[in-house]
Amino acid sequence: MNVAILRFPGTNCEFDTQYAFEKLGHSTQIVWHNDKELPQNIDLVVVPGGFSYGDYLRSGSIARFAPVMQEVSKFAANGGKVLGICNGFQILTEAGLLPGALKRNTNLHFISKYQHLKVVSTDNAFLNKCQKDEVLYIPIAHADGNYYVDDETLDSMKANGQILLKYCDKDGQDVSINGSVDAIAGVCNETKNVFGLMPHPERAIEMLLGSDNGVKMLKGFEG
């Protein structure tokens, strides 16, 4: 796979993401926010985590207008696969490529820890190597991860298998970590080619760091 990893001023997970995909045998390219086109023959665009533009105004609100994001929108509209992790998820919701929005955590804290996640839908290009209801163990690190979507949109997302991941305990019971509607940690768009999640699979690819559950998530894109 050829993976393009975007970098905005304030992005800080681009190298972790690059390391993860290269460890899985893929070629990667870091793409600057001012670039007016994506590299040729890209299979996946990753919008990595960090604090693009200092999270000014709202997390992701400025980054969505970067020149490269116009190209990402076109790429997604043509069916290209896009993954947003953490700040990348926030950017994709601000860009309207994913439904909903991410608000400040209910407890107003920056939450940084390992977290259990339940796999809700596997019928997509991302989580197809996971099992439905499987419990994963993946780090989270965010202040604005409180996912909000209106009831009507939520119902249609559920019906269409767009809810990907939920925060849970080790037994798979939903837990409220940050106030997210329905404990949602990750979603995809209606056409299932744009994915977003607050947890960091690229930080869970080696047991040395506490979990390698991120491998099967990222490998999903291999098809």
Partner: protein, 77 residues
């Protein structure tokens, strides 16, 4: 000319900061506060060619995220 834009979370969308401030006011003995909503005020210094329609477009495009936020504004000489 100044455009004073106020942005706040929609009614029905839980405001975690407002809730925390509400709780703190109660703890400090300030009773009778029914709710606290925290928003932000954005002050734009604009020239006379900027119309209310243009400010509205600025709000819808960038200044507010209309999925979760409402806004209002006034233009002051």
């Amino acid at each position: 000319m100044k455009a004073i834009v106020n942005v706040y979370l929609k009614q029905g969308v839980l405001d975690p900061q407002g809730k925390a401030a509400h709780h703190a006011l109660g703890s400090l003995g300030f009773n009778g506060v029914n709710d606290v909503r925290i928003g932000k005020q954005i002050v734009l210094d604009v020239d006379s060619s900027v119309t209310a329609d243009m400010i509205k477009e600025m709000c819808e495009t960038l200044l507010a995220n209309t999925v979760i936020e409402d806004y209002d504004f006034e233009l002051k000489p």
